[in-house]
């Protein structure tokens, strides 16, 4: 038997873990969106590629750290290839066309993942082999701490980059006003390339960190990518902090919905919350009205 407080504590823990992943994906989406004006619907495939590439590299004998680093680089390169091959040539097209292009890329990448890795689910070992921590009757597995930590570190690094480096300031300028940024000599094509590489890297990291908890399959990215979108909307698409908060909030909402309502309705609850936020605060929970 488990008391109500312990139950709620447990929902909070599991919501925070998943929420951190949603947050990272949302972060990657928001940065890309603000630099390029494109919502990259292939973001989930980057998560898949990161996780599965890491697994394959470990299998061929790479030490963990090397395998993870290489996998992240591979995902970043896929991002670069996608930008050069499909986004850059179509940069003059309408937003709708660009959305469709990213959908096409995600279909092709998913097919490629199916070809390379099959339908078999894979897993990675937890980063440390420790017993679950107990807190107020609720349980937190150590890997969750790594996932939470990754989210915190990613945000910290991002802010450092934006506030203290020249390149970061350029990106921020471009996010605020693309035309003005171009007028002062910031190259939008290079920024777009950077955005896709960055989102590949962040998404791959998210994939690698969560695989010990959730396992990895060729189609894992699809739902994660979708959730990342919802998170980005909740937080307001123009705002990196908002993306993080939106992600965590979505994770917590899902866990509480599954815990307190008939669990089949969990995804419906998430969608209703998103639509309500869209209708009442279209700029996200953090945005100005």
């Amino acid at each position: 038997m488990l008391g109500t407080e312990s139950q709620y504590m447990q929902y909070l823990f599991s919501g925070l873990t998943l929420g951190s992943i949603y947050a990272l994906i949302a972060l990657a989406l928001v940065v890309t969106f603000n630099i390029t004006g494109i919502f990259n619907l292939a973001i989930g495939e980057f998560v898949t590629i990161g996780a599965l590439a890491a697994i394959s590299l470990r299998e061929v004998g790479c030490p963990n750290a090397l395998a993870y680093t290489l996998a992240v680089i591979i995902a970043g390169l896929v991002g670069v290839l996608m930008e050069r091959g499909t986004i850059n040539p179509a940069r003059k097209a309408s937003v709708l066309t660009l959305i469709i292009i990213t959908i096409g890329v995600s279909i092709a990448l998913r097919g490629a993942a199916l070809l390379i890795w099959g339908t078999h689910p894979y897993t990675l070992p937890a980063f440390v082999d420790a017993a679950p921590l107990s807190f107020l009757g609720a349980v937190l597995i150590p890997q969750s701490l790594f996932v939470l930590g990754l989210a915190v570190v990613a945000v910290a690094l991002l802010f450092t980059f934006f506030d203290f480096t020249f390149a970061g300031k350029a990106v921020r300028a471009a996010m605020m006003n693309r035309t003005a940024a171009r007028l002062v000599g910031i190259n939008p094509a290079r920024l777009s390339l950077f955005a896709f590489a960055f989102s590949g890297i962040i998404a791959a990291l998210a994939g690698i960190f969560i695989t010990p908890i959730t396992t990895a399959t060729y189609d894992m990215g699809f739902m994660l990518g979708l959730k990342g979108f919802v998170a980005a909307i909740l937080g307001g698409v123009t705002n990196a902090t908002g993306a993080i908060i939106g992600g965590v909030l979505l994770g917590v909402i899902e866990a509480f919905a599954a815990g307190t309502l008939p669990s089949g309705l969990k995804d419906a609850v998430a969608m209703v919350v998103m639509i309500v936020v869209l209708l009442t605060r279209p700029t996200g929970i953090l945005g100005q009205r």
Binding site: F33, T36, G37, F39, T86, P89, A90, R91, K92, A93, S94, V95, L96, T97, L98, I99, I100, I101, I103, G104, V105, S106, I107, A108, L109, R110, G111, A112, L114, L115, R178, T179, P188, L226, F229, V230, I233, V237, P262, G264, L265, D267, A268, M271, V272, M274, I275, L278, L279, P282
Partner: protein
Amino acid sequence: MGFKKNLLLFAVVIFVFCLPIVVESSYYMSIFIVIGLYAIVAQGLGLLMGWAGQVSFGQAAFYGLGAYTAAILATRCQWPPLLCVFVAPLLPSVIAFIIGRPILKLRQHYLVLATLGFGIFVFVMLKDLGALTGGPSGLTGIPYLNIGSIIFMTDHQYFYLVWCALGLTLFCMANLTRSPIGRVFKAIHSSERAAEAVGIDTASLKLQAFVLSAFLAGLAGALYAFWVTFISPSPFGFTTSVEFALMVVVGGLGTLWGPVLGAAIIVGLTEFLRWAVPVALPHAGGEFEIIFFGIIFVLIMLFRPKGLLSIEKSSMAVNNPATLRSTDA
């Protein structure tokens, strides 16, 4: 031009009419039935996207609501199938009417995500309202459609039914786009603000387009249910919604024939790849079909970003829809 156009239209009609007579295989007939069903949905979505300038990534929900309404009325209430086909599109239309006004206020990506969220919500409900919908296991025992004593059992019969419905849809759509309302839609499309400034109630017109698109999706769904005679939630999910949007965009926004062409390409390409991939790469599995499908889409969008039917630059193509325009790139 007018004469030639009529001649061509006549040729298309004759072609469609003769097809079941020449083609024996019910496999080909089925391909055309699916193309016809999808084309009806795509027509509605085309009106919404191309003319009213609104995007929907939740059209499969209306398609599914139509299918389920028809199936539930026919199996649980024992209504005659033909009546179900006429009644079924009403539910999606009413739902579109209710959610349309708030949702259509949204712009660009926000509208994409709101409609997508609506689609997923309906999908979850179809799975969760098991007592009514049969849950994830689906509904069996849907009867065949009949008009009087004619039972639409074979694919050849069903082909005529579906393509008549499509023909009727096309006819209405052609008249609608040429009517004053069509011109108003064009005005909204090129600049919503300008249209509002001259006193057009754009919100109400967009809502009408949304409701009409839901009606057509519901109609196609009802026809689908009586064709397969078994439905489960899985064909009405997010992927199908995306496919519908793909059809419209690939075919060409703001054109009458674009959605039909788009539907033919999506279904035709899938079937073509199913045959061509094993012939070209004997040991390749279904994985390659998916990869090629994705790549071909990207290529079409790269080389014809405004859709395949955008050969001549219509006024539409020049005045890129205000709501869909890329702000900069």
